[in-house]
């Protein structure tokens, strides 16, 4: 126990005196997650959450244009713009502005669009009245060709964005057509000697949609957003970067002979190594909680959502320790395999970037191709992130994260055994 405690004290003193190391371990990761959460905020937001400027050229000047404008404004998804510099937009101007990338979308409502919708509604009502053996009296246009509301997109727009806008506008058109049709039906029914005081309400939505949570707790409604993904993801990334100081530490001890001195002292070197590991696992856990504080307190001040931690603090602690064990063991292996701190630094940094990229730190694994998802699930960083997501988003407790933590611990043990074999071979 004395060896273990003495080693923890020694590492603590060495870290306290290494201001650059302290900055690298505790300050840079905080900056990293703040920057990453802010940069990746926009891509993480649904299109429903964003508000777009939409150019509108209303050549109809009828109810459809009014309905579309009101509908778009009401949805709070769009800011309708129909004039630039005090001048009403023409179709050509709107097309040019979109083409030049100044605006993302433009819709052109053709002349006679309202008339066409009214005429169509009238025709339907007349048909219904005829089938009820009543005369259809509403005027119907004789026009045969169909009219289209035209949409222009910025050529750089992505397919998913176009699809979302198409869907939203299609919903508005359907709504306008339905409203006009219902209005015509109500007018005709009132005409048939119904008292004026009778407020007839036609409700179309008999069955609606309601979203419910699938997790065990129904109390917290957490959605995956930039903060919920980036704070845990980049925290795990930063925790794995402890490979570099540990690797350097191991190599320096070997180079300056202090490792030799430690091995010449009676007693197990395992106690010294355990002390070193415990210290660095502790550093990882402190890093983890500091970075969570950024998600809870700092990011909301910058206009980002607050990080929700789930309900099991014990589960999060167990996962943080698991990640710390895996990253510390990886550092010990790197420090054992490589001969110079430079080699360890380069290999350690590049390998963590690769493991993080395939492990879903940069972008969630769910949106990767299936073969990349398979490879990604082999990365220890993905095990940590899956466990944290289970705790934070699905509100699970300790009982549900043992699979992920077990993989992290197994990974740590496998790397330590490999390091022991390499060290033994080096001595012989």
């Amino acid at each position: 126990m004395l060896r273990l405690l003495a080693t923890i004290r020694k590492e603590w003193l060495l870290l306290l005196r290494d201001r650059t190391g302290l900055t690298l371990l505790f300050v840079l990761p905080l900056i990293l997650i703040t920057v990453m959460a802010m940069i990746e905020d926009a891509p993480f937001r649904d299109y429903q959450e964003l508000r777009f400027d939409i150019l509108t050229v209303d050549n109809d000047h009828g109810r459809l244009g009014k309905y579309i404008r009101e509908g778009l404004e009401y949805s709070e998804q769009f800011r309708v713009i129909d004039s630039v510099k005090g001048q009403l937009l023409t179709e050509q101007q709107a097309r040019d502005l979109v083409n030049e990338g100044d605006y993302k979308i433009c819709i052109i409502i053709p002349p006679g669009a309202t008339g066409a919708i009214v005429s169509n509604a009238n025709k339907i009502v007349n048909d219904i009245l005829k089938r009820m053996s009543m005369p259809g009296v509403l005027p119907v246009s004789t026009r045969k060709d169909s009219l289209n509301v035209t949409i222009y997109f910025d050529p750089a727009s992505k397919k998913a964005f176009k699809s979302a806008i198409h869907q939203a506008l299609d919903n508005f058109l359907t709504q306008v057509e339905t409203d006009l049709l219902l209005e015509r039906i109500k007018q005709q029914l009132k005409r048939k000697d119904v008292q004026e005081t009778d407020s007839m309400v036609i409700q179309l939505k008999a069955v609606g949609l309601k979203e419910q949570l699938t997790g065990p707790s129904q109390e917290i409604d957490v959605i995956s957003n930039s903060v919920q993904h980036n704070v845990p993801a980049w925290s795990i990334f930063a925790m794995f970067f402890i490979v570099i100081p540990i690797g350097g530490n191991m190599i320096r001890e070997r180079e300056d002979g202090s490792l030799l001195r430690m091995k010449l002292i009676p007693g197990s070197y395992l106690a010294i190594l355990t002390g070193k590991m415990l210290f660095f696992v502790g550093v990882c856990v402190v890093q983890f909680y500091l970075m969570m504080q950024v998600g809870i307190y700092l990011l909301p001040l910058l206009g980002l959502p607050k990080l929700m931690l789930g309900q099991s603090w014990l589960a999060a602690f167990v996962v943080a320790v698991g990640i710390g064990l895996a990253s510390t063991s990886y550092g010990i292996l790197v420090g054992t395999v490589f001969k110079t701190p430079n080699q360890a630094l380069n290999f350690g940094a590049i390998s963590i970037v690769i493991l993080s990229a395939i492990g879903g730190i940069w972008i969630p694994l769910e949106i990767m191709p299936s073969h990349m998802q398979f490879i990604g699930h082999l990365s220890p960083l993905s095990w940590g992130l899956d466990a944290i997501n289970d705790i934070y988003l699905r509100n699970v407790g300790v009982g549900h994260i043992w699979g992920h933590v077990g993989k992290l611990v197994f990974f740590a043990v496998a790397l330590l055994c490999t390091a022991a074999v390499i060290e033994k071979r080096r001595l012989s």
Binding site: R3, A6, T7, K10, L14, R261, S428
Partner: protein
């Protein structure tokens, strides 16, 4: 009684073309200051590594104070030996006291007894005013002296020093050598390896010269010089046995 007995020691590292040790044999008496000398690549480091149990010999016999070096005795022998490596095996960003406390703790020493022992040795080596300075601020001589203290904290019966005076000034060297003589007077056996043969001649009562994995000669320092009338000093004896060819 011998402090070290080595008989017919063989060692070939995995993947090496040549064996490091080819039947090395020597013995040193208990309580003496002895020199283990040899050119680069002679097998000194391998021998010391086998003596302290870091490396296993392929064949041969090693005894430290009559204890055979094997798995059963390895930890006990480690407690009997203090090694001063050629490198400054200290943590540069810890103070001398913190370094010594750490290594003392690893030996199982703690509390007031450790602290008083550290103070005693710091004073003996003229470092009492610098104990709380970080080692990277020390001069080469101060580092060397602290390096020695770290090896004797547990009061070993056999002290092995590898180039203990390399790169130090005359004053530090004189202090180190005087300490070794005084320490030896307390009954501690000392094995000294160095390329500074005038220093070895001054301090060692007996030397073993090894070359290419074998002991080429062993005997009292003055006796060896006297044995060869053409040799004026230990360096001449050394060159007589190991030749003038460069060992790169």
């Amino acid at each position: 009684m011998t402090s070290i007995l080595v008989q017919d020691l063989h060692k070939t590292y995995k993947g090496a073309l040549e064996p490091s040790l080819k039947g090395l044999s020597f013995s040193f008496p208990k309580g003496a200051i002895v020199g283990l000398l040899g050119p680069n690549g002679a097998g000194k480091t391998t021998t010391i590594s086998i003596l302290c149990g870091l490396v296993k010999a392929d064949t041969g016999k090693v005894q430290i104070f009559d204890l055979p070096q094997n798995a059963t005795n390895r930890e006990a022998i480690k407690g009997l030996i203090g090694i001063v490596p050629q490198q400054i095996a200290l943590f540069p960003h810890l103070t001398a006291v913190e370094n010594l406390e750490y290594f003392g703790n690893l030996y199982g020493l703690k509390g007031k007894s450790l602290r008083s022992r550290i103070d005693e040795y710091l004073q003996a080596f003229g470092l009492e005013k610098n104990g709380h300075k970080q080692v990277h601020h020390f001069s080469g001589g101060m580092k060397r002296r602290t390096n020695i203290i770290a090896a004797i904290l547990h009061q070993p019966q056999l002290l092995v020093l590898d180039e203990p005076t390399a790169g130090v000034d005359v004053q530090s060297r004189s202090m180190i050598l005087q300490f070794l003589r005084d320490y030896n007077q307390q009954g501690v056996s000392i094995v000294y390896t160095s390329h500074l043969l005038d220093e070895a001649q001054t301090i060692c009562q007996e030397v073993a010269i090894i070359d290419e994995g074998r002991a080429v000669v062993q005997g009292g320092t003055t006796e060896l010089i006297a044995r060869h009338p053409e040799c004026r000093n230990l360096e001449d004896v050394f060159l007589h046995y190991t030749g003038h060819a460069l060992r790169d």
